[in-house]
Every structure is written in C-alpha cells, then in structure tokens.
C-alpha cells in the first residue's frame, strides 16, 4: 500500500506539470494586454517598459518556467515566512502580480478563501449528512414510498441547475415573503458580517441558509444515489444472511455489517466530489453574491487578468488531482480486497 501511495504521488508530478502547461498556454493565448487598462497618456516607450517589467515580452517557454518558479518556489517560501516569521530572502523577488489590482495573486486568494471554504464546506457537510440516511433508508425499504420520494428528490437535484434553484429560493424567501416576516432570508451573502454575539450569529445563520441549501441539494442528490446503490449491492450478500441467521438484531445487521461495507465506495465518491464542488460553487457564489474564489475567477476572466486566472485554475486542478489520489488511497485502505501492490 505504501509503495502504491508513493508511486501515485510521484505520478502526480508530471500530470500536474502537463496540466499547468495546458492551462498556461490557453490563458496566454488571450489577446488581453496588461497595459490595456492604463491611461492613454502613457507614452508607448513607457508602456513597453511596463510590459518588460511584467515579463510579457519574453518567449512563452521562459514565461512558463518563470511562472512555475514563482508558483512552486517563491510563493511557498513567502507562505512560510508569513506563518513562522522566518526570513528566507524573498523580499526583492517579483511575486505573481494581478493585472487588475496590482497586488499579489496569492494575497487575493487568501482573502477570498475563507468565504468559499465556509459556505462550500458547510454545504458539503450538510449535504452528506442529509444524503447518508436517505440513501440507507431508501435501500433498506427499496420501492417503498420513501424510496420513490428519495429518487424524485435526487432526480430534481440532478436536473435543477443551481442558477435556477438559487434564484427560485430568492424569489420565495426574499421577494415573496415580506422582509419583516420571520421566514424572510437575505438574498445577498454579506461577507463583512462578523459574529460577535447571539444576534449576529443568528444573522450569519440566516444568510447562510439559502446558499448552503442550494449547494447541499446537488451534493445530496449524488451521494444519496451512491449510498443507495452500494447498500443494495451489500444487502443481498451471503454474509448478511449469515448475520441474520445467527440471530443478530436487524439494527446491528444493517447499521454495522452492511453499512460499513457499503461506505467503502461512498467515501471515495465523497472525496472525489470535493474539488468539483469548488467549481460548482462558482455559480452559487454568483447568485448569492458571495465574494469567494469563484467570483474572483469570474472577475479575473472578464478583466483579462492573466496571472490570476492561471493561478486559480491551476489551484482547482491541483485540488482535483489531489482528491483523486486521496480517493484511490482511501479505497485501498478501506477495502483490503483492493490492494494495488
């Protein structure tokens, strides 16, 4: 198992390098000019100097290697300096600078990360917690009313895109319900809101309900289907009959024997879904005006902010590769029948 993990870990390096090259080239092909937003009074030779200082005139390969160095060597060192107060001599090196805000890209990402993690993380947790019991009960009572209802809910979760479900809940809870009512919910997620006392906590809770529920619906749809299928596979196995035959309580049979074995594929699906949630959250963040990573990406794309787009998409790619790896390793750890070596 250990050698397998090591081998997979080494294999991720060329994968990530290739993906970074693809993303870098695609974004670099854009016609956007970093000096395009500057005042027209700047003379052409100064413009050229600015371009040179940003390194846009160099050959593509040089730019790529420079970017790699900044991303994998400079930024981690700066991160270490900030977190431990060391001095690693990074002060006079050029960081990845956003064209739009002229501040380091990593600082922008660090500013936006908590909002995304908070909303998406809670949604993922809520979605999983709702999905597991639904999946278990619908498998145990296959073809019952509850199962049919569960199928319908997950079909709706698959089919209703977040830009409609989000707008729909805004119509219901923010527009149709009067704003002095107890059930009224704010349609815009206020990220400057700070939780200091009970009242502000209540407000934070209320403003999180809608984005979290919209995201959770999709997560629930996927995971509950998987749990159900996996439980159904296991419920017909011989060991379940044996467990019943030796007189175990039904609760023990289902919740200990069957559930444990059914969780193996479900856990990997949960791990695989985490990075795609960051991508899916782009739309939800846009609907509820959460200024997280997704919104940063949209603004950067619209503004032709090449470094920010490159870095953000690459971070999304790292997340995907990383969680694929985690899912593979988890699968091997949880299921002794599937050991890759």
């Amino acid at each position: 198992m250990f050698t397998f993990t090591i081998r997979r870990l080494i294999l991720t390096i060329p994968t990530l390098l290739f993906i970074s090259l693809v993303l870098f080239t695609i974004v670099k092909l854009s016609p956007s000019d970093p000096t395009g937003n500057l005042p027209l009074t700047i003379p052409p030779e100064v413009r050229e100097k600015i371009r040179e200082s940003l390194g846009v005139n160099k050959p593509l390969l040089v730019q790529y290697l420079l970017w790699l160095k900044q991303f994998f060597w400079l930024e981690p060192r700066i991160f270490l300096e900030h977190s431990f107060g060391w001095n690693l001599g990074t002060a006079d090196e050029t960081r990845l600078i956003s064209y739009q805000t002229r501040s380091p890209v990593m600082d922008l990402i660090v500013q936006r990360l908590p909002q995304t993690l908070w909303v998406v993380g809670v949604a993922y947790l809520v979605g999983t917690l709702i999905a597991l019991p639904i999946g278990i009960i619908s498998a145990y009572k296959q073809y019952s009313v509850f199962d049919q209802l569960g199928t319908l809910v997950s079909m709706i979760g698959f089919s209703v895109p977040p830009f409609f479900s989000g707008v729909l809940v805004i119509v219901i809870f923010s527009v149709m319900i009067p704003s002095d009512s107890y059930f009224w919910l704010p349609s815009i997620y206020d990220t400057t809101h700070e939780v200091t006392d009970w009242a502000s906590f209540k407000y934070q809770f209320r403003q999180m309900i809608m984005p979290v529920m919209v995201l959770a619906l999709q997560i629930t749809a996927q995971i509950s289907r998987f749990t159900r299928a996996s439980m159904l596979d296991n419920l017909n196995q011989d060991y379940v009959r044996t467990a019943r035959a030796k007189g175990l309580k039904e609760k023990t049979v289902v919740l200990v024997h069957v559930l444990r074995n059914s969780m193996i594929p479900v856990v990997t699906v949960i791990a695989l879904g985490i990075p795609s949630i960051f991508g899916g959250a782009i739309i939800t963040e846009q609907v509820f005006k959460v200024n997280g990573l997704g919104q940063l990406l949209i603004i950067a794309i619209q503004g032709g902010d090449v470094p920010t787009v490159q870095t953000l998409t690459f971070i999304f790619a790292i997340l995907i590769v990383l969680f694929n790896l985690i899912a593979d390793v988890l699968y091997g750890i949880l299921d002794p029948r599937i050991r890759y070596d």
Binding site: T15, F18, I19, V22, L23, I26, V27, L29, S30, P31, M155, I156, F158, S159, V160, P161, F163, F164, V167, L168, I170, V171, V175, M176, P275, F278, G279, G280, I282, I283, Q286, L297, I298, I301, Q302, G304, V309, L312, T313, F316, A317, L319, I320, V321, N324
Partner: protein, 301 residues
C-alpha cells in the same frame, strides 16, 4: 399422427423488446413524451406562433400573462412565449450538437483504446488528464478568449455557437470513452470476435460490424445523459454572462436577463428556469429507462 406445435411467435426485432421494457418505466415514458413535445414545440412553434421573438412593442412592455402573450412580455415589450421558443431552439441545438460531438469523440477514443492495445496506455492517460482539468473554469476561459476571433470569422451568433458546441463537446467526452473502452475490452475476448478474425475480417470491418453494434447501448445511455449535461453547461455559461449575445435568446440567457427584474416580476425567471429543469429532468428519466431497457439481464424479467 401427432400435432407438430406451430412456432407461434414471429422472430422479432430486438428493438421491439427494448421498447416493451422502456414502456414499463413510467417516468421514462413521460420523460420521452415531454422531451418530444418540447423538441417539436421549439422546432415548429416559432412558425405557428405569429409574433417574432425580436419584435419590439414598447407600448405593451412588462405585461403579465394574457391571451395575446401567454407568458407576458419583457422590458422591451417582446413576447416572452416567442422568446422562450426561440431560446429553446438554440439551447436544444447546442445540447444536441455538443452531445453528438462528445459522443463521437468519446466513442472513437474508447474504441481505439480498447481495440488497439498499443494505443491504450497513451489514450487512457490523455483521458485521465482531461478528467483532472477544472472544466467549468476552463470553459469560461476558452469562451472568453476565442469569442472575438470566432465572432469575426462566422458572425456573432454563428461564432459563439461553434465555440460553445466545440468547447462543451471537447470537455465532456471522457466518461463515454472510459465506458466504451471497458466494453470493447470485454467484447474483444468473446468467441464471435475470434470467429470473425479467423475468416480474415480486417480491423476496420471488425470494429464497424462486430464491436460497435455491441457497445451501442452504453453509448445511447451516455448520449441521453450528455444532452442533459450540455444543456445545463450552456445555460450556466449564458447565466454567467459568457454565452450568446444579449439580443439572441437562449434559456440560460433569458434567465440571466430576468434576474435583474427579480423584485418587480419574479414570475419572469420561472419560465426559462422551469424549461431548463423540466427538459433536463425528462432527459434524465429517459436515460434511466433506457439503461434498464437496453440491459438484457433486466429486460427478460
């Protein structure tokens, strides 16, 4: 003399069996009928409905539903019903074409990878690489970058249509390729393939006559699910403001435009939203029923 029992049942085409099984799945049948109605509605509707989707009647703007305008009118007095049909045309056209592209690409790569052992490793690693790409951000970037160039070449509508279809198609073939490869690998080991090879069937005919018909069912199922995926992706891109130009309606674009009037006319977001959701729901149910109907193990029961 003993009676020789007549063989009563005529030999049937297997597609009749598939249809019989499909009919028993209520959700799938309703989904298929609904999808057909929507499809016919958006193809023939604009001809039958007298009002043009771009006709501006500023005096009757922001009206609610009435007999003249069953879904009301928008802020410029354009008939929402006509715009919904025109939008559905584009949305479904994008969905179907992108699906066809993705399925074609996925089947090609899957069959080649499964059939030719030498190319298997390379093609499957490529598939894995594509699966590791962050798709929605990548789509946004691609559309942003190439929109202007293609618009200049093919006009604003044609350019974005080509871009949208090829971008969605090029980023959603991977699942199909994986499924098809797995099936081809299994079929390749069967006796009939060996028999066909022993009489000297060349590779090309082997694939078209023996392999492809046997992997048709997973391809059909992923095709239905591919339509749903493509419609949602197109609407999502339009919703983020990176889709078709504003005067060119699609369901996603109509939803995006209606969000500005959420306070005053909340019913306006309902029409495109419901159209997208119900179409995707019906396609998903159709795929579910098709999966059962095409599986010979389930069919006999």
């Amino acid at each position: 003399m003993t009676d020789i029992p007549q063989i009563a049942a005529q030999p049937r085409n297997q597609w009749w069996d598939v249809w019989d099984q499909f009919k028993t799945h209520k959700g799938a049948l309703i989904g298929a009928i609904f999808f057909l109605v929507i499809l016919l509605g958006v193809i023939f509707g604009p001809w039958l409905w007298g009002i043009d989707a771009t006709f501006i009647d500023i005096r009757s703007r922001n009206q609610g539903p009435s007999f003249a305008h069953p879904m009301g009118t928008d802020q410029l007095g354009r008939d929402s019903f006509a715009r919904m049909m025109a939008g559905g045309r584009v949305s479904l056209a994008v969905g179907l074409t992108a699906m066809a592209l993705a399925i074609g690409l996925g089947t090609l790569i899957g069959v080649i990878a499964g059939y030719f052992k030498r190319l298997d490793g390379l093609l499957m690693r490529t598939t894995d690489l594509f699966l590791a790409l962050p798709l929605l951000p990548l789509l946004l970037v691609i559309i942003m970058l190439f929109r202007d160039k293609l618009n200049a070449a093919f006009g604003p509508e044609g350019g974005i249509f080509i871009l949208m279809v090829s971008a969605i198609g090029a980023t959603s073939w991977m699942q199909t390729a994986r499924i098809v490869r797995g099936d081809v690998l299994a079929i390749k080991e069967r006796e009939f393939v060996l028999a066909a090879r022993s009489i000297g069937t060349p590779n090309r005919r082997m694939i078209t006559r023996h392999i492809l018909p046997n992997v048709l069912s997973p391809i059909m199922v992923s095709a239905t699910l591919g339509i749903a995926n493509a419609i949602i992706t197109e609407s999502a891109l339009s919703f983020l403001g990176l889709g078709f130009p504003p005067d060119f309606p699609t369901w996603g674009r109509l939803l995006f435009d209606s969000v500005d009037y959420l306070q005053q006319y909340p019913e306006r977001v309902m029409w495109p939203g419901l159209a997208i959701s119900l179409t995707v729901l019906s396609v998903n149910y159709m795929g579910d029923g098709l999966r059962d109907a095409l599986d010979p193990k389930i069919r006999g029961r």
